[in-house]
Symmetry: C2
DNA sequence: TTAGCGTCCGACCGATCGGACGCTAAGCTG
DNA sequence: CAGCTTAGCGTCCGATCGGTCGGACGCTAA
């Protein structure tokens, strides 16, 4: 029943590492990045603590690698699903739609990985908080680019306040995550779509 | 340097209990309800673990008492600030305004206590999650009552979808908390006020 | 064939966790 | 005064935390 077959080659080591990270992302999205403990994760994968820690060296490095893996999954499940959509408002709409879908599908078993990570680390300092903040900043920048583009070509009103729109769009998605996780409200997705449609001139 | 004077009367015991809870709320809003540990909290207050635990019996009971205390503070800092405001839209506006102010003033050192608690416990089960969900439900019900009232007397459009409005209002406040905690963005309060004004027919 | 490297394990470390237990000492009641 | 209640303390416990260390094993290059 071991999740990791006991091979020892270098290529299999890379595989082991990715297995650790995939499972680590799942656990961290539910238990939090601090609740992700080395011993439990190792037992979960049928390996020893030291064998697991050998790939990273410290819990903090593991956390940073998990954040990176989660960012990769997010990038693949949200912006990765709208490749080919033309820039500006169509792309902005598609990104938001994929964002809603990502939460509805429950890509991470504990809801939005980064929302949970922000809530956990926003009061701390250090590389982990910086990494989380960086990922959020990148994603918001992607959206801001489309907002500004859509505004500049007239797809959104010329007096659109990009920061204000970003603030409100983000709120809709935070509210969606909140409703899905706390209330298990399956009508929340439709509400989010309605709110987005209104914000983007639906 | 002890935070709790070593008196032994029953009335002072109640005082000790409230000192524990006040500090517990502060710690929990930053470190989380699970990160609130009995030993550290006791050392923080200059008392022993067993002396502290004697007031509650278990960590879970302490967590529930902390949640209750936090709810009391919220009730005093948000709805408690709008007593006397007439029902309907004026009261709804005042509640939202107080809600924004509560986040801007940083009533809890770690941001909104309940937002953090929801993020931490939304995937678990048990009395702690239930207590958090209950507090959020009560607060939303308070707002919903004002939304429905405002709609029925024509202060809001007759076709107002109360659940939809609630969803979007909550999103604005979640986005505000997010911006304040992660970005330390002091312009977020104004953005929240603008968004609320638009939602409530500013 | 063998030396070296990298992966992984088992054992172990000090620290800290939640919690149990018995005790002291002070206030209340008779 | 005696006797009961109880706030709070000191000590101890098993479990678990992150992390270290030596060694076993297999692959690869010489």
């Amino acid at each position: 029943m071991s999740g990791v077959s006991p091979r020892r080659s270098a290529t299999e080591a890379r595989h082991t590492r990715s297995v650790i990270l995939d499972r680590g992302v799942e656990v961290a999205s539910v238990e939090g990045l601090e609740g992700l403990t080395i011993g439990r994760l190792a037992a979960d994968l049928g390996m020893s603590k030291s064998g697991l820690l050998g790939h990273f060296g410290s819990k903090e490095v593991l956390q940073l690698a998990v954040i990176d893996t989660a960012a990769g999954i997010f990038g693949q499940e949200v912006p990765g699903r709208v490749t080919g959509v033309e820039s500006g408002l169509p792309r902005l709409r598609a990104l938001c739609s994929a964002w809603v879908s990502y939460l509805e599908r429950g890509v991470f078993p504990g809801g939005c990985f980064f929302t949970a990570a922000v809530a956990e680390f926003d009061d701390r300092e250090g590389p982990v908080r910086d990494a989380i903040a960086g990922m959020v900043a990148v994603w918001r920048r992607d959206l801001m680019i489309q907002i500004r583009l859509a505004t500049s070509v007239g797809e959104l009103p010329a007096d659109t306040d990009a920061d204000q729109l970003m603030f409100e769009l983000y709120g809709v998605l935070l509210s969606l995550n909140h409703s899905l996780r706390l209330d298990r409200d399956n009508k929340a997705g439709d509400r989010a779509r309605r709110a987005i449609a209104r914000l983007l001139g639906g």
